[in-house]
């Protein structure tokens, strides 16, 4: 009922033709920025980093097991997040990369997480690596783990977190991403607990964001939503972040991976 009212007021305030034009033009904008994505450049750099020896053990990440066996990259991203017996927990891409940095390369958790999100001056190692690994799953169906009890538990926790209102502004993820037809400013908000919306989103992250001309990862996406929700900061790779990413990915499962994408 509330939506019907909003639409009525909106239509009265702005001529329908104008509103339609604005929508068409924004779609055109999004189509044009997607034609050639600098995301490809990050994947190239990520491949160099993947093969570069680093850490106290001076080894590359090439033997990192992303779920399909050591060093298998093809299709690995499309099967994440998933349960990893060696770590006895569910991990998303970045959490697993971090695991490989500490176990294979012998780096400390503190050092490896010092700079997980890049800025205008310098992208982060995680961003380059995510671009590379994700690009190796292009065209493959997103099939995160859903059978192990810990995978199911992660989905459930993620779902509860998605709808949990808290913090200074009483927001949950669903405050913005829970009702169809909603926009923040001119940006359409996908209803992320529904497969019809989640599929495209999941198939295009991680992504190059033109608003700051940086490559951004899924952990960053979750982190920055919580920032805008006026919440404290989620810890990188924590169970809560992995659970939320698991919930979103399982909701969007089945779509062929089309990223790394380009976002507003």
């Amino acid at each position: 009922m509330r939506i019907v009212l909003c639409t009525a007021v909106f239509a009265a305030a702005l001529s329908p033709a104008l509103a339609q034009d604005a929508k068409t033009e924004i779609q055109k904008y999004q189509r044009m920025i997607n034609e050639d994505s600098p995301a490809e450049l990050y994947a190239i750099e990520g491949e160099t980093l993947w093969k570069k020896k680093a850490g106290p053990r001076n080894v590359s990440l090439e033997q990192c097991d992303l779920g399909l066996g050591p060093g298998v990259l093809k299709g690995a991203y499309a099967r994440l997040p998933r349960y990893f017996p060696d770590a006895d927990r569910v991990m998303d891409l970045e959490t697993r990369l971090l695991y490989c940095m500490t176990t294979l390369q012998g780096r400390t958790h503190e050092e490896a997480t010092k700079r997980v999100f890049g800025n205008d001056d310098q992208p982060s190692e995680m961003e380059y690596l995510s671009a590379y690994v994700a690009s190796q799953s292009r065209g493959m169906k997103m099939e995160p783990g859903t059978t192990h009890p810990k995978e199911k538990a992660a989905f459930e926790l993620g779902r509860e977190l998605f709808f949990h209102r808290a913090g200074t502004w009483d927001f949950s993820c669903a405050s913005c991403h829970g009702t169809e037809g909603q926009r923040i400013r001119m940006q359409d908000l996908p209803v992320l607990y529904k497969p019809a919306y989640a599929r495209h989103v999941i198939a295009t992250w991680p992504a190059y964001r033109v608003s700051n001309s940086q490559f951004k990862t899924m952990q960053w996406r979750v982190n920055d939503c919580y920032r805008q929700m006026r919440m404290p900061e989620p810890t990188f790779g924590s169970d809560a972040t992995v659970a939320l990413i698991t919930f979103l990915t399982v909701t969007g499962e089945g779509e062929p991976y089309a990223g790394p994408g380009t976002k507003r």
Partner: protein
């Protein structure tokens, strides 16, 4: 408690196909909410002004989480009344400030985030969710359009009080509104709320042209 049932089913019935409740909106009992709060306390950390203590739930949040934002009137009304009592109206009795400053506050999405620099004025982020001045074409629709609000409703004392109160604490009027409690939460100051009230009600404001 669906989670526990699913987990138990998975453990005992290995042959059973996995069916996760995709696309369904859950409600959260008091126990479940406490468990989520414990997870947030464990997995989130302080950063700048955004402290972990923010994850503690108050009665409004608990009730809205329990009822998926749709509590029965018998539950909502006493809580709304309590929220109404939190509103601090200006001691000088003047509720209308400067609409020009109000427009700046409505445009700004800053405030209460860990990325905000201390001392910088906060904004209300109004355009994120509402249409206001017709000059701004980029506005959201999570909330209703407020274009011509004053023209349609007048700017009498009751309307002024309602608008000031709604910005100060939206939950006093609709318990599970998605609108933040901008005054109660400490995001906007008394003067800022006056300015935004003027943006909505001042006949000279672009909102009412």
């Amino acid at each position: 408690m669906r989670r526990h049932i699913v987990a138990a089913a998975a453990a005992s019935l290995v042959a059973c196909a996995s069916t996760l409740p995709i696309g369904e909106r859950p409600t959260a009992t008091a126990d479940e909410q406490d468990r989520i709060t414990a997870v947030l306390k464990r997995d989130f950390h302080d950063r700048g002004p955004a402290k972990v203590s923010r994850v503690e739930l108050d009665a409004v949040q608990r009730t809205c989480n329990l009822h998926a934002d749709n509590p029965p009137a018998s539950v909502a009304e006493p809580l709304e009344k309590a929220q109404l009592a939190t509103i601090k109206f200006p001691s000088d009795g003047r509720l209308l400030g400067d609409w020009k400053n109000g427009e700046k506050i409505a445009q700004s999405g800053r405030g209460s985030m860990w990325s905000d620099k201390p001392g910088q004025p906060a904004g209300g982020g109004c355009y994120n969710c509402h249409q206001l001045s017709p000059m701004e074409a980029s506005f959201g629709n999570v909330g209703p359009s407020l274009y011509r609000f004053g023209k349609l409703r007048g700017d009498g004392p009751d309307v002024q009080k309602y608008v000031y109160g709604k910005i100060y604490n939206a939950k006093a009027y609709n318990l599970c509104s998605q609108m933040p409690r901008l005054g109660y939460a400490g995001t906007l100051t008394e003067q800022q709320i006056k300015d935004v009230t003027a943006l909505l009600l001042d006949p000279a404001s672009p909102v009412n042209q």
